[in-house]
Symmetry: C2
Subunit: 211 residues, 2 copies
């Protein structure tokens, strides 16, 4: 947008418009959630005419799918491991798992858009949720295979870890709107500390202290 002699001249550039629309999806998701994520709202947010959504992306599903492919919604293995892979692989199994729980909580809490999408996933299926589901499932399984399933445990360690991950997911998602769960105050650090301690207790109970 250039202004010359009281006249506004809009620069026309397909790539920029593309990016504007895609990033408008993200900021709208962060601001309003998945409800009300429609062509009108997105076009308004991008400062662009909604017909371009149809021209460039063949409609809302195409745009949303494009957004899904660009995003960084899920923590990397590095982030889940705490930032230092070499140090991580040196840990005992129980230390690894405790760290994993701790880092997963942190990673989810700092990704409000990811949380929004996870809730969206549960309430309906669409292009974006299907896309991100696949990414997440791959990422989880990769992490399992890299760090946790090197030895054949007699216990179904994968199921136990999945269960802890599910619990963390539910509690982080829920804590955005509701403070209390089963007597745990999820609006306070103390509540989350109790939870992390419970995770440690569970892990030690399942894999032993030193393994």
């Amino acid at each position: 947008m250039i202004i010359v002699e009281n006249k506004t001249i809009k620069i026309r550039n397909k790539h920029i418009t593309h990016k504007r629309l895609i990033s408008a999806v993200g900021s709208l998701l962060a601001k309003k959630g998945f409800k009300g994520l429609g062509v009108n709202a997105i076009a308004r947010e991008a400062g662009v005419d909604k017909v371009l959504i149809y021209r460039y992306f063949d409609g809302l599903p195409g745009l949303i799918s494009a957004y899904g492919k660009e995003g960084n919604f899920w923590p990397s293995a590095l982030e889940l491991a705490g930032g230092d892979l070499h140090q991580f692989v040196e840990c005992s199994l129980s230390e690894k798992l405790s760290a994993l729980g701790h880092n997963f909580i942190k990673a989810l809490k700092k990704r409000p858009v990811t949380c929004e999408i996870m809730i969206w996933e549960m309430s309906e299926r669409n292009e974006l949720t299907a896309e991100l589901e696949a990414i997440r499932e791959d990422s989880m399984m990769e992490f399992f295979q890299m760090f946790l399933l090197t030895k054949n445990n007699e216990q179904d360690l994968q199921a136990v870890v999945s269960l802890i991950g599910a619990a963390i997911s539910y509690l982080v998602l829920r804590s955005r709107n509701i403070d209390l769960y089963g007597g745990l105050d999820l609006s306070s650090d103390h509540g989350w500390q109790r939870l992390e301690n419970a995770i440690k207790v569970i892990i030690h109970g399942v894999v032993g202290e030193n393994e």
Copy 2:
């Protein structure tokens, strides 16, 4: 509604209309979820004019709140205990907890409307979700106090049980739309069996076999 000589005569009865509207909320929740649960849709479903929602319930929030007060959304302590309280109290703590997990899974799976509302809770707060949150939290805490917290454990048993409950909630809600989680196939009995076994392993690890 009576039909006489090709003329339809509608019987007018406040109580019946009340009930029609309230039950329309339930059937609409079951059919379409919380999206699209509006005055127009509810009135259509009830076969009644929407203005009556305003007249009798002061609008949609009032109607939804009335629905929340009438429903049976949450399993009773009896259901969570497996149907026989006397037998339940005789069990060891670990048996109690395993049964609790098993029964909670069953109870949630058979309550699609409750699942719908739980997802709704996570995506926004309103009269109904606030109402049902309170009911649920009370019910959970009552169950804790009745059966699980009789002795002072050194472990934070409440946190562990809450965590397992959170995991079950997430996985049941999620399994309505998505089959796979962390390698567990939640569309199959086998996947759920792995999960229940994992719960048993966790419980035994935390409270011991015989306690």
